[in-house]
């Protein structure tokens, strides 16, 4: 049995930690919140998802306000792709509520575990991706991109030059973004990993534009599923409050601590946590 006071203080600290690590590694700390609540505190997964999804609005909006000022985020690309991610998010959260009410919560646990594994792989992959630079950025004209204004340029401060880019393979990218929104609604996470994949790998946008634009979209995407969970009673304010405040404080601390460099040790720690949580979530999901 855990007292309410103990929960509020302990979860606040855990959320700060998740925010710090998440912002230092460049993946939102939101992915750690649901496992911490279910494995750590025994909270039913639907309430854990409700608490977690609220916090992703906070981290996304906080970080986006800075990136938008820096003119790296592509507002039009973000707003266009939000059509797909918001749609996916509504489908995702509806599916989760169906699983919960049909006694199929184990599916959510197993999918969550697999997403944790994929995120661990992705954290390591992104480390290589950043070193490789922006060699795959598309700058060729694209008719659909022209019609939808899905292009732009940004000032790369470390390379001291302006990089122009044009989106390509737009329908495929839109599909991946829809799926990212679906995972966000299904699991109560930001789903940034898939959003970045859709923009960077599929649509060939610069990595920095992809990560900041993905972050920009996460708040709106999460708002759709949060609204549904809020109205249907799964956002318990006592559960959600320490998480929302904690990740905001944590991501501020993390962003101050490191603006550019991302030490390998933090990355390794994050990967280990993701793998342990992944095993634990799948174990909790498998009926036994």
């Amino acid at each position: 049995m855990i007292g309410i006071d103990e929960y509020l203080l302990l979860m606040f600290l855990v959320a700060i930690l998740a925010g710090v690590i998440g912002s230092m590694v460049g993946v939102g700390g939101g992915i750690l919140v649901v496992p911490a609540l279910t494995i750590g505190f025994g909270v039913p997964i639907e309430y854990a998802i409700g608490a977690s999804i609220v916090s992703t609005i906070a981290t996304s909006s906080g970080a986006a306000s800075a990136y938008v000022r820096d003119r790296i985020t592509n507002l039009r690309i973000g707003m266009f792709l939000e059509i797909g991610s918001v749609l996916g998010s509504i489908v995702g959260v509806t599916t989760t509520l169906y699983f919960v009410r049909s006694g199929l919560s184990w599916i959510i646990f197993v999918v969550f575990g697999l997403v944790l594994f994929f995120s661990a792989y992705n954290v390591l992959h992104n480390a290589r991706r950043e070193r490789r630079g922006e060699s795959l950025v598309n700058a060729q004209p694209n008719a659909l991109a022209e019609r939808l204004s899905l292009r732009g340029e940004y000032e790369d401060k470390s390379l001291h030059k302006t990089i122009g880019y044009v989106a390509t393979r737009i329908p495929a990218g839109f599909g991946v973004i829809f799926f990212g929104g679906l995972l966000s609604g299904l699991l109560g996470v930001g789903g940034g990993v898939l959003k970045v994949l859709g923009m960077d790998t599929v649509m060939r946008l610069p990595f920095k534009v992809s990560t900041t634009t993905s972050n920009f979209m996460i708040g709106v995407t999460a708002t759709a599923s949060t609204g549904i969970l809020y109205v249907s009673g799964y956002v318990n304010v006592i559960l959600a409050a320490p998480v929302a405040l904690g990740v905001v404080v944590g991501s501020l601390v993390g962003a101050r601590a490191l603006v550019r460099s991302k030490p390998a040790s933090i990355r390794v720690l994050f990967v280990v946590i993701l793998l342990v949580f992944g095993v634990e979530m799948i174990y909790m999901g498998i009926p036994h």
């Binding site: 309430y47 039009r76 204004s149 549904i228």
Partner: protein, 138 residues
């Protein structure tokens, strides 16, 4: 200047909405947490499991009940206000984008942002109540 870049207006307005939204909601959530620790509302269950079992901390959907809660300095009411401010932040950002694209005469993106806004309101006011009804007692 160039058409590729959204005007400075749009970036700054959106940056400001997001920043103020997060700051305001964080202040309310911090105040609510302090109240919860120092002056928990009457009837607060002693344990986390107890609170989850009866969903103590479930937000009220009645605006008058929310206003009354905040006015009385109820921890749950103040926390709810904080989370509502957070949910309102991206919605305000999208609504402001509709207006700003309208001012730029960018018809396509007025449509895009309007569609996103409609989907958000659809989730909140149509899908939410439907899911709530489907959950029986909730």
């Amino acid at each position: 200047m160039t058409t590729e870049r959204p005007s400075a207006d749009l970036n700054d307005a959106i940056g400001k909405i997001l920043r103020y939204g997060v700051v305001l909601s964080s202040v309310a959530v911090a105040a609510g947490l302090a109240l919860m620790l120092l002056a928990p509302p009457p009837g607060t269950p002693g344990t986390l499991q107890g609170a989850v079992a009866v969903n103590f901390g479930r937000p009220t959907l009645s605006p008058s009940a929310l206003i009354a809660g905040v006015a009385h300095g109820s921890a749950v009411g103040v926390l709810q206000l904080g989370l509502l401010l957070l949910i309102a932040t991206p919605i305000t950002r999208v609504a402001a984008s509709v207006l700003l694209f309208f001012r730029e005469r960018d018809v396509l993106y007025v449509g895009v942002t309007l569609l996103v806004l409609v989907m958000l309101l659809f989730a909140l006011f149509v899908v939410g109540p439907l899911e709530s009804a489907g959950s029986g007692s909730g």
